[in-house]
Amino acid sequence: MAHDLAHELPQVGAHDAHHHPSGVMRWIQTTNHKDIGIMYLIFAITMLLTGGAMILGVRAELFQPGLQFMQPEFFNQLITLHGLIMVFGFAMPAATGLANYMLPMVLGAPDMALPRLNNWGFWILPPAAVMLVLPFFLGIMGVGPGAVDTGWTMYAPLSVQSGWGMDFAIFAVHMLGVSSILGSINVIVTILNMRAPGMTLMKMPLFAHGFLMTAILLITIMPVFAGGVTMVLMDRHFGTHFFTAAGGGDPVLWQHIFWFMGHPEVYVLLLPICGVVPHVLTAFSRKTVYGYKAQVYAMWGIAVLAVMVWAHHMFTSGMSTGAQMYFMYSTMLISLPLAVLFFCWIATLWRGSLSFETPMLFAVGFIILFGWGGLTGLVLADAAADPQYHNGYFLVAHFHYALYPTTVMGAMAGIYYWLPKWTGHMLDERLGKIHFWIVMLGFNLTFIPQFLVGLGGMPRRIPDYPLMFAEWNMLSSIGAFILGSSHLLFIYIVVKCVRGGKKAEARSWEGAQGLEWTVPSPAPYHTFEVQPTVE
């Protein structure tokens, strides 16, 4: 696909793009936002399959009580890598890929503001991913202790005690952090400087607002996290005692640092999708977005609250009564901006002229499932009730209801929506709809039982469990394999669409709005040679 695009290169301009190298070097050296966007998305999908394969190993082990396929050491590596890979390897790069491809197009810009930085930002990712999983494969081959096995939260002092897979993970986190900071700088600079004339900040598409808030959050939290993992590294090798009480440190300090990154991280994953979804909803309800300003302010509200509520992940760690009260009540406040978003999304649909093509199905599925994920968060905010849910499967189900619909279904809504613009072909609607229903079936079958075993008292991160949890775990495992297979169908649909299909118009969907639909499909290599003007 991208090769076809390359032939349509404008042969003018003093750019280096008009004599770009071919073959592999083209991809390694590219500074084009579309090329880099595609590479981000391919990387993300690879990571989705890797992290997914790992969790299917876990679900296979949990299919029945007893240890069937693996020992607990190996199990712990799988759950840890699943978490790290999905958050840092899949969800964030998928969002950055969407931003790279679409930001210049929705803003009316020729490219991202800092194209070389863009290239660098991407090419840090693959080595980081290799660094993260290398100890895992070495471990399988009998070399070394295996990958990081502390859970993605890497709680000290377990992470101080763990084998050298942990050092690889720390280094990988550093690189992933640098990559996302570079990407974020690029997003902020692009949004602030490259908007089409007439497009003031409050006329900018919500897509750009979502990514602006995400980028600001990332720049706020990633340096803190990098500092934190460096402290773990120092504890491990240089005799510092930041997190060990024996030398005057405090293990709970790590939790504060981790969750100062970890909680905003949830919104880092959510906000881009909050930017994508209104585009899809307006297109398929053939209506203008409802409550634009309210949505923008709600996103700002979420971003601000994000860095103020982290310790609600730590109610069982032990805190003063006052701190528990503060984190409980501030957490409840988040429901307000989220409710504003839900209200606006539904009001956007209301009295529209609705049709349900694949992107719309995924957007609506996101709203419904994420709605339940958000609602279950309410009871987890209750500092006195939280211990009963915390670190049980109820919690696992809750955050998967929050994260899967956003990072996977939301991103897929966006990808399906803009796929005709990228490839010049319409996607196979029949397969797309089948994909959606498989996702709905697989996802709910996986995680509804997890709510129930969680209430029954099953802790997370255990490779084997008491007999009373057997039936639900079996159902959950079946669901997980259905859900996993849906991603293969997704790849097939995308590849099929790249290869051919009904020719896409410039405005590929009847109700699609925005600057990106004013250029031909597929869009030219440098989308806007001449900046468009907004009213």
């Binding site: 007893g66 069982t316 009564t321 307000l336 349900f356 079936l441 029954g456």
Partner: protein
């Protein structure tokens, strides 16, 4: 498409029925402490409210999907926000309700529940120190000078599927914690290595055991019996194999047991 939808509905229906008819665990165990009762109450209240909200909004959306479908409405409305005073009131109403729900319906009971949860020192009649280790629990009655460890007794054969699994598979230990009924127990947790977390679902309490620090909580168990739970903070490879078993007995039985433990501790060769 029809077939897929039918299948989806079928599975959900099956799930719904199975949770009603089968004896699977699908909710909190019967609460036996004041905190667990309070938590169950909050949970039930929450489930009713959350499910009502969820299905009400879902119904609204489904209605919209049907009534505002392109086949029924060729022209979409053009409104982009509330325009009249009345519309503003209707728009703000859900948010007012949400705030009342957050800070009233949940917030006020939560305030008292947190206060209750943290009230560890008042009237405590017995102190138990719980120490996490990789991978077993140690229990100590500091006032009575009794200290022992509690380890998993499930045979390795059962875990490796070489022999049939027993009734309390993974939830059985050599020496359970023994507590008197109806006495306010103050628990102090700590750890010798990494962070563990002591959890008995029927007690509704869970607190991390943090190495080098003391954390505390309390429980008054109101019913005799054997209660089981597990470590709930990932603590290394045997994390899934360090259960918590608590025998709650009458004061007399407890006294006898304690005296026995003291004798055993001072017996020669120990």
């Amino acid at each position: 498409m029809r077939g897929v939808k039918k299948l989806v509905l079928g599975v959900f229906a099956a799930l719904g029925f199975s949770s009603v008819w089968a004896a699977y665990t699908y909710s909190f165990p019967e609460p036996v402490t004041p905190i667990a009762r309070e938590t169950l109450h909050v949970h039930n209240l929450f489930m009713v409210i959350a499910l009502t909200l969820f299905f009400a909004v879902l119904a609204l959306m489904l209605y919209s999907f049907w009534a505002h479908h392109k086949s029924r409405r060729a022209n979409a409305a053009t409104f982009t926000g509330p325009s009249s005073r009345k519309q503003w009131l209707w728009t703000l109403l859900p948010f007012a309700c949400l705030l009342i729900l957050d800070y009233g319906v949940f917030g006020i009971p939560a305030f008292h529940a947190v206060k209750m949860y943290e009230n560890t020192r008042e009237d405590a009649e017995l102190v138990v120190k719980v120490t996490g280790n990789q991978w077993f629990w140690q229990y100590e009655f500091p006032g009575q000078g009794v200290k022992y460890s509690s380890r998993l007794t499930t045979p390795r054969d059962q875990i490796d599927n070489l022999s049939p699994k027993g009734e309390h598979y993974l939830l059985e230990v050599d020496q359970p914690l023994v507590l008197p009924v109806n006495k306010k127990i103050r628990f102090i947790t700590t750890s010798n290595d990494v962070i563990h977390s002591w959890w008995v679902p029927a007690f509704g309490v869970k607190r991390d055991a943090v190495p080098g620090f003391l954390r505390e909580f309390w429980a008054t168990v109101e019913k005799t019996g054997t209660y089981r739970g597990q470590c709930s903070e990932l603590c290394g490879k045997e994390h899934g194999f360090m259960p918590v078993v608590v025998n709650v007995v009458s004061q007399e039985e407890f006294d006898t047991w304690l005296a026995g433990m003291k004798t055993a501790a001072t017996a020669p060769g120990n």
